[in-house]
Symmetry: C2
Subunit: 469 residues, 2 copies
């Protein structure tokens, strides 16, 4: 334990220099100066934790091990399975995005998605009956992350849903996500009208078997290679997946065309993928999760291994603190609204898709995708600034995922809670926006910041595991 | 006629200021200063022509009309036809890239491609017999441009070849090109081995009918919209067409899948397109030509409407000088060679694909495609510099084709020979490199500059059409 005087200020000069040392680490890592304005002295308790972290002999190696495991992962889609088969989900068990939450605390889009999932599973005849089952606590809710899965937006995964299976042979990890439904009125945004349920049935009964057959023919599909390409083609891998989705279709077209179904059905599959520029999001998300999971449970590591939101709370998990969630109320994204919606329709931040920023892309690779900042009135310079800031809070640059406009510099990878707290720079997150009211669907897309408190709590928790604690 | 003293220098002060006025035009056009070093006083005869051009009352309006016609064109692929059907080509008539040339003056790759085309048409039993037919002047050679067509590299188009038909309803123009064969040992690079001829036969008999059926189902395919997207996805539309080719396949996949042939044949088509990242080059080239052709024959216009190379000479055509070619010996490209080749294997610059630079993309849109300068050892900054320079020699910015990394500025469009001569800045060209020896095929890809003399001759010719001449 370090010493403090009665004023709460640190008396030990070695320790009071630590915040500065973390800053100089950051400066050395990037070869550029940190703007003084970006730094504010952390509060007393945090200064203590920062000093403990800095003194922790395990820290440097643990963080290197964590970030290298994540960077060297080579996740591949190996096939399509179901939530029942792969995760043992039963009919009234539902996965959801973000940290754990109850129906009573769930936001509109999560509630809407649960109602829709009950309808899909045939557990309720109509929305009212589904709603009553939920109110009566007749359903079980579990975070996707607790079962090796991730789900965009509401992230609801139910028993019969088809899932991509993504494996990383390097670190022996596996992760899952369901299949992307497209934009607008979709379950993951909280919509549950008949067209939503019909589409989910078509995905389960037609699309999934065809993709399954195509993957079997094609062999493992290298997601990291897809991302490496698409980041050099205007995607940032979270809110823009146009290039990735086109490259996926191009690569798979021959294997899909050979599937043993009618040409009309093949054609429907191509129409569906062609009409959905986020089609690969549900592949890149489990790929990022499989990669990040390899960095879990390394004693002393302050690296973030998951950021996720349930629509009510934002939560993070950190390598050196096991499966503990550090949560705070979620902020509300700002961005571009679809016609007919206003700011008051936007639900607070929701979804597991922040696994992309955890992996070092999405908002962190904004310099790849100037089209996104333009949507929210920003310039190319702002996109570059965002990415440059992210180098200040990360542990490494990913040599496999390069940013062409920054002369092929690797993406800023591995968020260090100690750097976040000491620089007071929050991770940049790009995200979709769901309607607040259950049943609405998507209302827009934009940018959001996590609450600082999550990183502060995580810092304290890892600090407490150290010898000096 | 302007006055000159015995030294050949201009005596008229009004006229001696003209060079400066052209420069200040350029400065106003771009809102940026022109580097003094980039300007050298043109030679006396050229100074005279520049002064005539500057005094030409027609110039400003003629150039505006020319560049606006090219910019507002909206070329679409409407179907697949043959060279015999669309252009009336007979079996011993062959189109080639660039300005007119004889067999005797033709370079290796053009000779190789002609030998291959004779084999494809069944006019010769083997390469020796084909070569003899050529030596005996038993074939007729015509530039692609003289028949409303363009061809990449050797650009050889023969009677039976399938062609894309590209129409622009805005200006009522039509243009054609053949179908892209892929990289390596291909006819357009001068190769004519059995695998090359077999591939051409498969293109004519299998690929073309399937694409034809797919286009008929799909309706006109908007090439300008494709380019607008792909320029924001790392393509520059000449040497990099990865995004464009993937987007084309994505858009067309459903229509192709519905074609009335076996799934094995559909699958072959997808494999072929997936394996060829330049697949759309042969669509974007006739689209650029159809656009540029709308700018032809405007009296007084100094805008370039074609730049093309036949492997021996580089030639340009200018709006205000009809169909006259202004030629000079072609330079040899510099760039990256495929393994096993050296600098001495590179043929001088060849192909009609400089229609892309004529249209304002390719080398002009280098800022879109930093991956290309990286190939030749350059930086992102160099890519931006190239594009910035091109604004100095062009008449307008194309609002339909934007450069994301330059905050969505339009591409520099409409090369003005007067600006080229007065600034001494040559158009930047990206290009493939063919082997010098007939039969070799592609040896690499790189950058090249046109000879200044073409622009000087064109300037003089347009000047001579004016009242002050």
């Amino acid at each position: 334990m370090t010493e403090q005087d009665g004023s709460g200020l640190l008396r030990n000069p070695k320790i009071s220099a630590v915040g500065i040392q973390l800053l100089s680490d950051a400066i050395r890592d990037q070869g550029t100066a940190v703007a003084d304005a970006a730094w504010q002295p952390p509060r007393d308790g945090l200064a203590l934790s920062l000093s403990q972290i800095a003194a922790d002999q395990r820290r440097v190696n643990a963080n290197q091990q964590a970030v290298q495991a994540m960077i060297e992962a080579r996740p591949e889609v190996v096939g399509v399975t179901t939530a029942h088969q792969a995760l043992g989900l039963e009919r009234r068990q539902f996965l959801h995005s973000g940290p754990p939450i109850s129906w009573q605390n769930a936001s509109g889009p999560l509630r809407g998605a649960l109602v829709g999932a009950l309808l899909l599973e045939g557990e309720a005849a109509d929305a009212d009956e589904a709603w009553q089952l939920c109110e009566a606590n007749e359903i079980e809710l579990l975070p996707c992350h607790s079962r090796g899965a991730v789900g965009p937006m509401a992230g609801v995964i139910s028993s019969s849903m088809s899932l991509y299976e993504v494996r990383d042979e390097v670190n022996q990890q596996v992760a899952y996500s369901n299949l992307n439904e497209g934009l607008g009125k979709v379950l993951r945004m909280g919509a549950y009208s008949p067209e939503v349920i019909d589409r989910l049935r078509w995905i389960n009964s037609r699309l999934a078997p065809i993709l399954s057959e195509a993957f079997a023919r094609q062999g493992p599909f290298d997601v990291r290679a897809l991302l490496a390409q698409s980041l050099q083609m205007g995607d940032e891998g979270h809110n823009r997946n146009r290039a990735g989705s086109a490259l996926f279709l191009r690569e798979m077209s021959s294997s899909i065309a050979q599937c043993d179904v009618s040409s009309a059905e093949i054609s429907q599959v191509f129409d569906f993928i062609n009409g959905n520029e986020h089609f690969v999001l549900n592949m890149v998300m489990p790929a990022a999760k499989a990669s990040a999971d390899a960095a879990r449970n390394i004693p002393g590591s302050t690296m973030v291994v998951a950021m996720a939101r349930n629509g009510t709370e934002f939560g993070i998990q950190v390598s050196g603190a096991g499966d503990q969630w550090f949560t705070a109320p979620a902020n509300t994204p700002e961005g571009i609204l679809f016609p007919g919606f206003s700011d008051k329709d936007i639900n607070p931040d929701i979804g597991d898709s922040t696994i992309m920023e955890t992996y070092g892309i999405g908002g962190f690779a904004m310099a790849c995708a100037p089209a996104i900042v333009r949507f929210v009135g920003g310039s190319v310079e702002l996109a570059h600034q965002k990415t440059h800031q992210m180098y200040e809070i990360t542990l490494a640059e990913n040599p496999h995922l390069q940013i062409a406009s920054l002369d092929f510099r690797g993406t800023p990878t591995g968020i260090d809670v100690a750097k976040v707290v000491s620089t007071q720079i929050l991770p940049a997150v790009n995200t979709g926006m769901a309607g607040k009211e259950a049943g609405t669907g998507q209302v827009g897309a934009g940018l959001v910041e996590p609450p600082m408190s999550c990183f502060e709590q995580a810092l304290v928790a890892v600090a407490e595991t150290g010898d000096s604690a």
